[in-house]
Structure formats: C-alpha cells, structure tokens
C-alpha cells in the first residue's frame, strides 16, 4: 500500500519534472540572464489580425535596471541625459536620476529596480549595445500569456485577476527590485506587475481614423462593443496594453514604462 502510494507519487513527480523540462524550454544554451521561450502561436487581441506563429527566442529574465542602464550611458555619452537629442527623447528622459552618471535617491528609484523614463529610441539603442533587440509585440504577448503555473495563463482563472489587480493599483515609487517579481512558468520575472514595457513594433498598435478607410480597423476597435472581434473578452488587460502602446510616441519617457531585451536564436552572441 505504502509502496504503491510511493510509486504513484514517484510517477506523478516524474511527469511533473518531464513537463517542466520540456515545456518551459529552459535551455543551457540560453545567454546569461535570458530564458529561451519555446516557439508558439501569438493570439492577437483582435481576431482580424489572425493568429501568427512565433519562432523560439531568448528573452531577458528581468527588465533592464537603472544600474544596467547606467553602464550603457557611461559607455555611450550620446545617451547621457544632458546629451541625448531632443529628437530621440523628451524632457523627462531619466529624470529619476540625479545627474548624467548619478543614480537617483532611494526614495525615487533603486539601482536594481527597473529603469524607466526611457524612450523607445533609448531602449532600442541599449538593446543594440547589448547585441540584443526589443521583443516584438507578438513575442512579448506570447511570453506574457504565461502564468506562474502554465504557459497558457488563460487556463489559470486567477491569472487575469492578478494582472488586473496590478493595473488597478497606482504605481508606488521607488519601483521594487526586478528580482522581487515572481517567476512565471518560463522563469521570466515581472512581465506583469512591475512596469509597462516597450516593444520593438509598438507603433503597429491601433491604426485608426487616419488609416485606410477600407482597413476596417476602427470598426473593430473600441467603439460600440469595443471588444467586437476580440479573441478573448476576459483579457481586459490586453486591451489596456494595446491602448497604451497605441498612445505612445517613440520619444516619450514615462515613469512606469521600462523595457527588457530579446534575441533571436540565430543572432550571434556578441
């Protein structure tokens, strides 16, 4: 009896371990600080965009921190606060720092907290400097679809509730250390619950009004039952991300908008 119980437990454990090792796609070949996200399918918010396959890629486990960004501006004077072109940043660029090469006070920011107030141009430049790039919307959303227990968070009823609870809460400064965010199924931290994050193609979101009249997009966005055509009505958080991205301008620096980097499997390690 005990023995068979143990055997059941052991096979259950074996199954669990097998799932964990195959499905999380954690990989010895992952560059330091990155996790390999298995290939999958991105289900866009709007069905008319169509599901699209996403190749396997590497994603930073955590958002880029203030300390990491400081290394970047040390090495790249043109991205220091006083020298960055107004073309590529706005007046709030790195405003939480005390100076060009001086981080801010502990009540404003933490060195190992996520860097924010960085424009898309600055975030892209950082990623290039690291031999990486920003994740695409499809990659980010596919990775962020994971909950703590599943690659498909929508199978976890509490997943959306946790995310929405964060969205409903005002941001408190200083933002917590990136390592304090819980690890999700992939071993990635802070895709939800820390800061909003730039994506490479943020400017694909929401083409309305000025767009081709025959694109039919505005009919499917926001007006009337705004969710018409939406693939998952429960995923209100995805609507918010979509709306947020569509409102961004590439040079905006926003106090709760940071970023993390990605890398294609085919890209060479620098």
């Amino acid at each position: 009896m005990i023995r068979s119980g143990f055997r059941t437990f052991r096979s259950a454990l074996l199954v669990a371990v097998t799932i964990a090792t195959t499905a999380t796609a954690r990989d010895d070949s992952s560059p330091p600080g990155m996790v390999r996200i298995a290939a999958g399918v991105y289900e866009p918010l709007y069905k008319n965009e169509g599901e699209r396959p996403v190749a396997s890629f590497f994603l930073d486990q955590t958002p880029v921190t203030n300390a990491e960004f400081l290394e970047f501006v040390r090495a790249n004077p043109r991205w220091r606060r006083s020298q960055a072109l107004a073309l590529f940043t706005d007046a709030h660029y790195l405003e939480q720092w005390r100076g060009d090469l001086e981080l801010g006070d502990a009540d404003t920011m933490l060195p190992d907290g996520p860097v924010t107030n960085v424009s898309w141009f600055a975030a892209s430049a950082y990623a290039r400097w690291r031999g990486k790039r920003l994740p695409t919307t499809a990659e980010w959303e596919m990775a962020a679809a994971a909950s703590v227990t599943s690659a498909r968070g929508k199978d976890d009823p509490e997943h959306y509730e946790r995310i929405l609870a964060w969205y409903a809460k005002p941001t408190h400064f200083p933002l917590p250390a990136v390592s304090s965010a819980p690890r999700d199924f992939h071993g990635v931290r802070g895709l939800h619950g820390l800061v909003w994050e730039w994506v490479e193609d943020f400017n694909t979101a929401l083409v309305t009004g000025e767009s081709r009249a025959d694109a039919g997009l505005e009919r499917n966005l926001f007006c009337g039952g705004g969710a018409a055509g939406a693939s998952d009505f429960r995923d209100y958080a995805a609507f918010m991300r979509y709306a947020f991205r569509s409102s961004l301008d590439a040079k905006y620096a926003v106090p709760n908008l940071g970023f993390r980097c990605a890398r294609s499997l085919t890209e060479k390690t620098p």
């Binding site: 072109l85 073309l87 400017n203 309305t208 709306a243 947020f244 301008d249 905006y252």
Partner: protein
Amino acid sequence: MKKESRRMFALLAMCAWITCTAFPGVAQTQELVAPAGAKPHATLPSDRAPIAPSIGAPIAPVVAAPAAAKPHATLPADAPLDPASVYQLESRWTRADGTKVALSSLRGKVRVLALFYSSCEFACPIVVGRMKAIQEALPEGRADAAGFVLVSMDVAKDDPARLTDYARRMDLKGDWTLLSGNDGDVRELAALLGFRYRQEQDGGFAHSNMITVLDSEGRVSHQSIGLDTDLADAIAAVRRLLGT
C-alpha cells in the same frame, strides 16, 4: 501632480481617449512650425500624460525643437546636422537606381516625404496624388526647388525594380526619390515621424496617411494627416521654406 497619481491620470486619459475613438475618422492637419527660439516641449502640457490622444484631439508635435519658420541658406554638406534633423538617423537605404544612400543625402533641399508601399491600391495612390498636387503648386520655373521622397514600408517586396516600375506607373516626373530599407530602419523612421503601420494577413498594410514637409536640414516643418484634408497648409509650408 505626484508621480503616484500620474498613473491614475494615465488610466483616466486612456478611458477618455477610448471614448474619443468611438468617433474616428477625424482627419487632421498638424502644424509644427513654431516661432524660432521656442522652447522645446513648449506645446506639451507641463505634466504630460503617458497617453497621447491620437484621434479627435490635438496631436503633440513629433519634433521637440520645431524648425525655424524662416527659410535659411543651405549649409555646406559637411556642416554638423541640426540636432532636430530627421537625417540624424544613421540608417542606409537603397534608391530605385540601386545605389545605397544615407538619409542625409536628402539634405540641402526642401523635401516632401511619405511612407507607402507599391502594391497599395487605395490610400497610397491618393497620398502620391496629393504630393503631386504640392509639386504642381510650386512656383513657376521652380519645379525642382523641392524634392519628393517615397519610402516603402513593404521591405519584403519593394526592391529597386518594383520602385522603378512604380515611378513609371504613377508617372512621377521631376525630383522624386524612392527608397527601400530594412524592417528595423523603416520602423525607426516611422517612429520618428509618428507614422503607424502594421502588416495584415493578406500582405497589405494598415497605415497612417501622412505627408511630412522637411526643411533643407531635414527638420520636420509640417505634417499633413489624412486623405481629404486641405493641402493649403502643406503648400504654404513648402513655399515658406522656399522663401516664395
């Protein structure tokens, strides 16, 4: 406003904006010219929200330091670029004749620029038609005083051969430059101009309809958004830059 409340403000702004988008289709013209010496960001609210209303509300300027309104002499090609010049981008592009160029090769002339793709059958021909209308409004005898630039967003298909064919098909005469580039560089240029686009499943694109007037240093002087807005402002912007 405290930082903590900025976020709540952002959410409220987003709600307001979502409401606005229920009434889309408002074509707008964006005038970016400000008095010389205007402070950068002068037109942004002092405590800006992360959410920029994009429809049915005034649009914040794309360029922080707007170009001076007065026409200015062409600088030598090796003079440092103006910090607000779009030509600060270091990307390399391929012209329809196959030659590789930097955007700074467009320097020295007033340029009227739009993003497009050659297989677009609806909006792009209209945008090109509007650019032609601006060209026709140039002062007599100065048809080449301004250059016209089309940058393709269809990086997979629009090669020099297709761009050459497009120029012939659209009967583009005078100083037209058609450019193709790689995906990241097109996205970067689009980001700088505030142009949004997305490839659809059928291979076509949903995209902004935008014509940008650049001064001879590559600073954004005016943007005309929409397909049916009055071109008078765009024409006036070009003529002002030409000093006519």
